[in-house]
Symmetry: C2
Subunit: 297 residues, 2 copies
Amino acid sequence: MSVLAVDLGGTSLKCALVDATGAVTWAGRHPTGRERGPAAVVATVLDVLVSMRDRAAAGGSVPRAVGLAVPGLVDATAGVALWSVNVGWRDVPLRALVEERVGLPTALSNDVRAGGLAEARVSGSDDVLFVPIGTGIASAHVVGGSVVTGASGAAGELGHVMVRPGGRTCGCGRRGCLEAEASASAVEARYREVAGDAVTAAEVARLAGEGDPVAAGVWGDVVEALADGLGSAAALVDPQVIVVGGGLAQAGDTLFTPLRAALGARSSFLPAPTIVPAALGDEAGCHGAALLARALV
Amino acid sequence: MSVLAVDLGGTSLKCALVDATGAVTWAGRHPTGRERGPAAVVATVLDVLVSMRDRAAAGGSVPRAVGLAVPGLVDATAGVALWSVNVGWRDVPLRALVEERVGLPTALSNDVRAGGLAEARVSGSDDVLFVPIGTGIASAHVVGGSVVTGASGAAGELGHVMVRPGGRTCGCGRRGCLEAEASASAVEARYREVAGDAVTAAEVARLAGEGDPVAAGVWGDVVEALADGLGSAAALVDPQVIVVGGGLAQAGDTLFTPLRAALGARSSFLPAPTIVPAALGDEAGCHGAALLARALV
């Protein structure tokens, strides 16, 4: 028994054939090509799935289900991709499209939630807040193997928890959201403002780790904002483990050492969740999509 | 079939006999007398329960279970009151003590969580964030008739979500917690600082409603802080309804009209939960205790 998994990102589409034990037997990547418009992106997803299905069948392993992780707001129950700024689509009945074209039962999920499922599985904890920090910041709270979805399916907007009143302007139009203060994009914008140079967040982290005072100042502000956001989340939902992923987590100890200290300083009588780096990197979404597919068969 | 319900507060103990339809057939109040120490408070709870049990039995209605709501951290599964600043106890095996003395199966809960269960039931919604605002601020997220407890049983500390970095000092030792900025105590402290007078939060609300500029200034700051805290909670957990209770909710439209406007101004693409006043006043905890007791039989 194998399943097909696809994680559609703004830049690349990751896909994998996963066997009955959960092992990846084949994996690939394709450009998303979102500049071609949402219809072309949907066509690419369908083509990739058909090609994987046929390739697997030719190898003697007939896939039994599809798991598909996509960015933005998703109605997992209806199987509809409601909205994504990244891909530019609205109300695409992806599950029906895949099931018709590929002929296999299909699970559709938001990419952060799929990634959270996979990271929670790896973490071994039953209560995990997964927080990918990249261009934006989102979260998925996985309790007992399921993602907490919220009443309108919109839970997990940790990036829009307010941490700095009157602070930096967020893409959502408000000010001081965690995403505006502490995403990888915010690191880059902050550094550009004080140093004048356009460098990547990874480079700012490297410079901060080497003791560059300007980079260290930016990094310190970002870590404090992150600790405020994670501290507020911990107070409200009390996760056992916070798994931090996304591009910013690549900074390793440069991020995790001061972040743990800053969160520890805030914990007082409140629960102090363990903070760990994500284990699956940018493959978390694809692994999660496979988990969702395997749950169908 | 009737049950006994007790809600132990820092000042008074509310108790009720509740029949099979959920109707209160008898209710009473006693002073908590916490100045006598935790052992005396426990003795009062036990005495009240025995007295209610015997009174009910004499009236021909033999109670079948006990529901007990208490302040502070509770291990509901173990039936132990872990910690309460208000009562001054630690690790009291309340369920075992009640079951031994009263001879009935007993459910133990935190008072805010019990209140949340009762308010959620009344609200008719399946996904309610109950937020009592009094001396402190707490929360209980009720989803599908159960309270979200968190990994260590400590979920719902909305009062310690950070809304004003470097702001007012909180009882927890940190600064800018929602509770330090926007509880009834914070309203009173803020007003005293600017006006010099020690008046109640209810009086500040009344003055603000009448257009007193000093009171209106204090009230406006409090409403903005509350909107930031509730907005962050909405972003993270996406409740359908937020039920605001406690003493501050007694301000009625003086609170709810600007609070709804301030939260609406923050919602952008995020879910905008309905905000309603609590329906049960200070009887929510007792009603919730009765619900928990009825679930045992």
